[in-house]
Each structure stands twice: as C-alpha cells, then as structure tokens.
C-alpha cells in the first residue's frame, strides 16, 4: 500500500509536468493579454496532429517534425491574435469567449475533416522511449518519457521566467500585462507584446499536444479536456503566475494519481474536486476580506494573490484599446 502510494505520488508529480506545459501558455495569455483562449486545448491537438502527419505521412523524424511545427504554430498564434483576438477584445467581455469557442469548434471539425476521427499516437514513432523506465529503490518505476516531459516543463517554465524577467521583450510583455496604457506611454508596443505572448502560448500548446500524443492518443476532439486540465492547473497555481502553473500542474497530477488508487473513474474526479476545493477556499477568503463584492472576491480566488491594490487596474483598462 505504501509502495503504491509513493508510486502514485511520483507518477502524479511527473504528470504535473505535462499539465504545466499545457497550462503555462494559457496562464501567459490570461496574465499578459487578459485574454482567455478557449481554443487552447484545440491548438494543442492541432500541433500534435501536424507533428503526427509530418512524421507518419511525410516521414520526417519526430524531432525534426517538432522543430518545424513549433515555429509554424507560433506564427499561427501571432496571426490569430492580429486578425482575430485583437478585434474580439475590442468587442467587450463576452466576445472573446464566443470567438474562441467558435474557433475551437472550427478547429475540431476542421481537423476531423482533414484527418478523420481515428485516435492517433506518436507512441510508435519514438521507439523505446514510450515504455522505457528506470527502476528506483523500493520498487518504484519511473517512465523515461514522463521524466523527459517533466524536465521539459521545468526548462520551458524556467526559460519563460528568465525571458519575462531579463529580456527586453519580456519586460515589455510584463509592462503590458500590468497596464497596457501606461506601457504604450512608455513607448512599449503593447500590441506587439501581446501578439508575441500569443505566439509563445500557441507554440507551447502545440508542444504540450505533442507530449500528449507521445504519452497516449489524441483525436480531433481531445482539445476541450486538455483545456480543462490547463485551467485547473492555472487556477490552482494562481492565475498569471508562471511557476504557479508547475505547482498547480503537480497538485492536479498528484490528486488524479491518488484518486486513481481508488478507482479509474475517481482519478479525474479527484482532480476536479481538488480544483474546486482550492477555488472555494480562496473565494471564501475573498469574501471574508470583504470590500469589493463578488468580482473582487472571484478575482482574488482565481489569482490566489489575495485582495491588493491591483484590483483597480482590470477595471481601468476595460475597453481602453482604441
């Protein structure tokens, strides 16, 4: 029993690496652009299916297919932001939601039309990596692929963190996240920063999709489930926090793998319950802090930061883009 428990903890932690990669792009979009892309999961699946097509139909090696796909997806993210998201954001609160739900539906059915509804996997294309594992003392087995994905998550998040902290583009992105209007007045091209954030987010989604296809299978309709996991990881870790997504992902992964000890069905349920518990606890905290009403309480719950002076900003920049 203790063995199974430790094994579940280890597997859950490694699974958290995958969730972190899906979630970090979403977190970047929400934190920087204040834009919720509900097609994020579908972007992940699109990236996966492109890599699968390049590998299985065109015959490229997996690594090369990934190296080709990620920049293409980044460009797609940039273009989508320029032609779609920017306009949607000007249309108020509801429009981005409708637009990205519609985009998700279009992507799902487009992928269905192009590739059919078969489940597809990259598992066969990565050789022994998909099943190879290391055995640790006390009979614990860790799969090499999950370890690779987890390491990749740490590298991606670390690189993103450094990029945001130490590069010119990163600072422009952060400044735009805090206050697009003030950023523009500092000479920062807020639009460009947002498009860049969108490009990064979409290419990271594609990377996550590729890992998903390596671990298991994808179908054109796998996207929404990935979006939900990403959202849960983002909210558990604190909206807009980059390292928080890794922590959120790990918490989600551990909850699911511990739930999995009870029964297969309990795995996902446990994840959702932990997510709801975290959200409710923060919401209750927000209510106790009082002032500001439900919007502020909800915002505090989502960001996990508590109620601070930041609350004024979201209202200040609504509809400010001209």
């Amino acid at each position: 029993m203790a063995d199974a428990f430790v094994q579940a903890l280890v597997q859950g932690t490694l699974l958290g690496g995958y969730y972190a990669i899906v979630a970090v792009g979403l977190s970047l979009m929400v934190g920087v652009v204040r834009f919720i892309n509900l097609a994020h999961g579908d972007m992940a699946v699109l990236g996966a299916l492109i890599v699968i097509a390049l590998t299985q139909a065109v015959g490229l090696p997996v690594g090369l297919a990934i190296a080709v796909t990620l920049p293409v997806m980044a460009a797609l993210g940039w273009i989508m932001h320029a032609v779609l998201f920017e306009r949607a954001m000007r249309g108020g609160f509801l429009l981005p939601i409708l637009v990205t739900i519609g985009l998700g539906a279009a992507l799902q059915n487009g992928m269905f039309g192009l590739w059919g509804s078969n489940t597809r996997s990259l598992g066969a294309d990565i050789g022994g990596l998909s099943w190879a594992s290391w055995s640790l003392p006390a009979g614990i087995l860790v799969g090499q692929l999950p370890v690779l994905i987890f390491a990749c998550a740490v590298v991606v998040i670390g690189a993103l963190h450094l990029m945001l902290r130490a590069t010119r583009l990163g600072r422009a992105i952060k400044a735009t996240a805090t206050d697009p209007e003030a950023a523009e007045l500092c000479g920062v091209d807020a639009r460009r920063a947002q498009r860049a954030a969108s490009a990064i987010a979409v290419s990271l989604a594609a990377l996550a999709g590729v890992f998903l296809a390596m671990r298991g299978q994808v179908t054109p309709y796998s996207g929404p489930a990935q979006l939900i996991f990403a959202f849960e990881a983002v909210v558990i870790g604190g909206l807009g926090s980059i390292w928080g997504t890794l922590i959120g992902g790990i918490i989600l992964g551990i909850s699911q793998s511990l739930g999995g000890l009870i029964s297969n069905q309990a795995a996902l349920l446990a994840g959702h319950l932990v997510f709801l518990t975290v959200l409710m606890a923060r919401l209750a905290q927000g209510w106790r802090a009082g002032h500001g009403g439900w919007r502020v309480a909800l915002r505090a719950a989502l960001t996990g930061r508590g109620i601070t002076a930041r609350q004024g900003q979201t209202t200040a920049w609504k509809g400010k883009r001209t």
Partner: protein
C-alpha cells in the same frame, strides 16, 4: 526588438547633438492644439480648446476640478481619439497618431493617479521606458536608468518592487519613467499633490532642473506657489474651456479666473 524611430531629439542624453537648428521654415510652438473638442456622448469635456507650448517653455495649467485639464493631457498624449480639432507637434500633425507614436516623437506624460508596473522593481519600471521609449540599448539603457533614478531621488529604492513603495515615490516614479522615454516635452499631471513642504521643494528643484536642461514642461497643479516657481506662463481652464492665459500673476488676478475658482465649482 528595435523600433524604427526618427532621431529627432537633439537634447536627449543618449543621442548625439543635432548638427543644426530646426530646419522647418516656421518653427512655431513645439506642441500646439487648436480647436480641440472631446465629447463623451452628450457630455462635452473639452470645448474648443487651444493650447500651445514653445520649445523650452514651462507652462502651468490650473483650473477647478472637472475643468478638463487631465482630458487635455489625454488628448495631447494620444490616450484617446479626440472628437474635433487638431494637434501638432514640432510642425507635424499628430491628431491621429497613437499614444506610442507620440511618445517616440518625444511627448511623455505622467498620471495623476500613478500607473506603475506593480510586478517590477522601480529600476525595471524605468528600464522598460528607457529601452522601449528612450531608444537606449544594453548598458546605455542601464546607465540612463540609474542616472534618471538618481535625479528623481529614487536610487535607494531601485530594487524595491513598485507594489511596495508609497504614493510619493510612485509619483516620482511617474516622472522618472516619463524622463526615461527621452522626451522633448513632458506633461506633468498633479505630481505635487499630497507632498510635504520639504518634498515639494525637492520636486520644484527637480522640475526646475529639467527646465534648465531645455525640456519643455506642461504642468497641471493645484499647488500654485510650487507651480509659479517653475512656469513662465499660466493657462486657466474651467468647464472645458480656456478662460485665461498669459503672465501667471495677471492670470491669477483675472476676475474670470477668480469666479471659476470661487464660483459654482469650488475646490
């Protein structure tokens, strides 16, 4: 991320001096607004406002609350499109130019309510502006940022997150960030409010120093004695119009100005 920018700032610390004087046939005022109208629905906030500031000039703007002073700044800095009128900067029509383009041309503004980038240190706040708006790169940007922090008295707080500093330092940060964009004209919106007498003297020294360095200053301020130490011309606004302008003492003695202050809309 390099931004193509016209090198039009002879007096900027990061730029080589301009080889010659202004080449335009009629230099005119550096910043000039004519017939500016701004309406929000049926509410007219700016009603046919004319404004100008010459190169190196320091202009004060006074007026009761709701007179449209901050809205005029928004119109000059490009925070929103105006309903009517024209704005020119250095002989160029900038009426339709977005805020960022105007900033790169050399118009900087501060906010009455500070808008810092909370998650960053003061140093990073200013560095963003120095890189993106000021056109400095690498080490030069870092040096310029340090220099500006020293001039604005923020150097001891350089590595403090903006979320952790008080209002007065945030107001200084507004000035520092505006300066870091290497402006030719700086629009200061009530940066003296809430300061103690000692701090006010420091602030006046700072702004006087900026003026002496050739920067054009437009300053909205309720604290008249501070304003009058720096500005050479005063504009008084009330109810969206310019009601008086000219020599500061003459403006303050003007009966319309007095009624604007003491009449229906007292401070």
């Amino acid at each position: 991320m390099t931004i193509p920018r016209p090198d039009i700032r002879p007096d900027g610390p990061g730029h080589s001096p301009d080889p010659g004087p202004d080449h335009s046939p009629d230099p005119g005022p550096l910043l000039c607004a004519a017939g500016v109208v701004k309406r929000y629905g049926s509410l007219t906030v700016l009603d046919d406002v004319g404004f100008h500031a010459g190169a190196g000039e320091a202009v004060g703007i006074v007026g009761p609350n709701g007179a449209g002073k901050t809205t005029l700044f928004g119109a000059l800095a490009g925070s929103f499109p105006i309903t009517g009128g024209q704005i020119r900067f250095d002989g160029t029509d900038i009426t339709m130019a977005p805020a960022r383009a105007r900033n790169i041309m050399g118009i900087a503004r501060t906010y009455q309510v500070p808008h810092p980038f909370h998650g960053m240190t003061l140093f990073e706040n200013v560095l963003v502006a120095a890189r993106a708006g000021g056109g400095w790169d690498g080490q030069a940007a870092i040096d310029a940022t340090g220099d500006i922090l020293r001039r604005t008295g923020l150097l001891p707080l350089a590595n403090t997150p903006a979320a952790a500093v008080g209002l007065l330092d945030l107001k200084r940060l507004e000035v520092a960030r505006a300066l870091a964009t290497n402006p030719r004209v700086i629009l200061l919106d009530e940066i003296g409010g809430g300061l103690t007498e000692g701090e006010l003297i420091q602030l006046i020294d700072l702004i006087g120093g900026l003026r002496a360095s050739g920067l054009t200053i437009v300053w909205i301020e309720h604290i008249l004695h501070a304003l009058l130490k720096v500005v050479t011309r005063l504009v008084c606004m009330a109810e969206g119009r310019v009601v008086a302008e000219g020599d500061p003492e003459a403006v303050m003695a003007d009966p319309t100005v007095r009624s604007a202050y003491l009449g229906t809309d007292p401070e």
